[in-house]
């Protein structure tokens, strides 16, 4: 099984890479962080004795992606699975952020994800099933004031995945959208989850389990995975309750959590 993972050097990417390693898959890893990729490659080779290829790439830059595709074609690498993990968010309100930072969120989470997905599905291994995973978010289920751009970009991925799944069904391609709650992927996220207090922790999904169950479900032909029973309940409620009310509740909660996180001294 040849798997391409984007955003591989981040917390979730590393968990997916390790899960694939355990299963003995061959990996092609990409990330914007070259040094992180090399560390991960070493770690995976030492742990699992698998084939790991890495190429640092800025997915938001068409030229950079073309360079990577050229490398892939030169070595005639063909894939059975694509894990779209690369994505980003910045904390703070819409007007409180720098203009270009907001554009970056949509450029990476959406535009760049479409670019690489299109390119890699074209490079699928002939005559075999192909699997695509998009990392959406629990945030895609609700309007999320103070995380508006991020949540909307994740909603885009969820809707896109659902449609693409239908389009490609007959071509033996399975598309799955993963909608996790918070995950402990970085130092900041550990602090962020702690700042949200109780609700932050109970909606937090364990990385290693998310990675394992996502692969199980994707290979089993499923289309959506919301990890955690509480998160599934929340996403269900999100469909029942009017969106304006959800927005008000979410705003109240995030406003408190972000104040607590960004201004710890005021407590």
């Amino acid at each position: 099984m040849n798997v391409l993972i984007t955003g591989a050097a981040g917390g979730l990417g590393r968990a997916f890479a390790a899960e694939c390693g355990r299963r003995g898959y061959s990996l092609f890893l990409t990330d914007i962080n070259r040094e992180g990729l090399l560390c991960l490659q070493r770690g995976l080779e030492r742990q699992f004795n698998i084939t790991v290829t890495t190429k640092a790439c800025d997915l938001t830059n068409a030229e950079s992606v073309n360079d990577m595709l050229e490398l892939i074609d030169r070595h005639s690498i063909r894939f059975d699975m694509l894990l779209n993990i690369a994505g980003l968010d910045f904390e703070g309100s819409f007007m409180g952020r720098e203009r270009e930072k907001i554009i970056e969120i949509v450029t990476l989470n959406n535009a760049a994800t479409l670019r690489i997905t299109h390119a890699v599905i074209q490079r699928r291994r002939k005559g075999r099933c192909f699997t695509v995973v998009f990392v959406s978010s629990l945030a895609s289920m609700f309007p999320m004031p103070l995380k508006a751009t991020y949540a909307a970009s994740k909603r885009f991925l969820l809707d896109f995945a659902t449609s693409l799944r239908q389009e490609l069904k007959e071509q033996n391609v399975n598309v799955l959208a993963l909608c996790p709650g918070g995950m402990v992927t970085t130092r900041e996220s550990m602090e962020g989850i702690a700042a949200q207090g109780f609700w932050g922790e109970v909606t937090t999904n364990p990385l290693e389990t998310v990675a394992r169950k996502t692969l199980d479900r994707a290979l089993d032909g499923k289309g959506l995975y919301v990890p955690g029973s509480l998160n599934r309940t929340l996403s269900f409620l999100g469909k029942l309750i009017p969106r304006s009310i959800v927005a008000a509740v979410v705003y109240w909660r995030w406003n408190r959590a972000q104040n607590r996180w960004l201004n710890p001294a005021k407590e």
Partner: protein
């Protein structure tokens, strides 16, 4: 003058041990996570003891490239200032986690910091320890008992339980010490594990969740101040003749898990060598 290297030397047990050894006339090289904490710790030690010979190095011991950099920096310092001699290496830095989290190599963090970091650093500093027939002291815990190393999945990526991961990393500490003694006692280098007991430090409050924080906040109240275990480290450093035991608690030998066998120690050595990409027996020459 004897020289001691101590990791995790900016707070808790590591700091008190650094402070005590400096008072006892050791040259102390402390290793900490951040420059800020290191400079603060250095200032505190010097304010209480202006004659202390103390220097700090900083880096993230969880990441292997930083362990390598630190070990090279310390090695250069030892060559320049201490005739290439190191008397004591105290692998003390450790952490507790509430969740499965990985290092840049994709290794589970408690295993990476509590065990692999010390394994890697020791490899880099072993040539300097050999010159003095030096000692390696590792901060262990009584909690290493009652479990086995999960050899098929040491990163515990299946059914991760943070407490089990901690206990396993502490069992690895004892196995590592055992492995060092099996290999190097003949050359005079010995390793010990100190069980500090329950100590009032902040280990359970750093980057953990509410539950762990709450439990630890209550538990640490019953703990002794870190000055108490510091005495056990000093005791092991100061004995003229190298003590014969493996695990120590309150300056006395204590028992350890039945899992601590030469066979398991060798198995852990081989695994850790592979995960660090190093080979004991092929250290750099001084």
């Amino acid at each position: 003058m004897k020289t001691a290297v101590i990791t995790g030397a900016t707070s808790g047990i590591g700091f008190e041990t650094a402070s005590l050894l400096a008072r006892k006339g050791f040259r102390v090289l402390g290793i900490g996570h951040s420059e800020e904490n290191c400079l603060k710790a250095q200032e505190r030690i010097l304010s209480e003891n202006p004659d202390a010979k103390i220097a700090y190095f900083w880096g993230d011991l969880m990441q292997q490239r930083e362990v390598l950099c630190l070990s090279r920096d310390v090695a250069a310092y030892l060559s320049e200032n201490c005739d290439g001699e190191l008397n004591v290496l105290i692998n003390n830095a450790g952490c507790v986690r509430s969740w499965y989290a990985t290092t840049d190599e994709g290794y589970e963090q408690q295993f990476a910091l509590n065990h692999l970091a010390g394994f890697y650093l020791t490899h880099g500093l072993l040539p300097f320890l050999k010159k003095t027939k030096g000692r390696i002291i590792i901060t262990g815990s009584k909690s290493h008992k009652g479990i086995k190393v999960r050899w098929g999945d040491v990163m515990l990526s299946r059914g991760y339980n943070p407490l089990i991961a901690y206990k396993q990393s502490k069992l690895c500490n004892v196995l590592f010490a055992k492995g060092i003694n099996d290999r190097y006692a003949a050359e005079g280098v010995r390793a010990y594990v100190v069980d500090p007991g329950l100590v009032n430090t902040d280990i359970g409050n750093k980057k953990t969740g509410t539950l762990v924080k709450l439990i630890w906040a209550l538990r640490k109240l019953q703990g002794v101040p870190p000055t108490v275990p510091a005495k056990t480290y000093a005791f092991l450093c100061e004995q003229e003749k190298a003590p014969e035991g493996l695990c120590y608690y309150l300056c006395r030998e204590t028992t350890y898990s039945k899992q601590v066998t030469s066979e398991n120690a060798s198995r852990l050595f081989a695994l850790s060598e592979r995960l660090c990409g190093i080979c004991y027996g092929r250290e750099a020459a001084v």
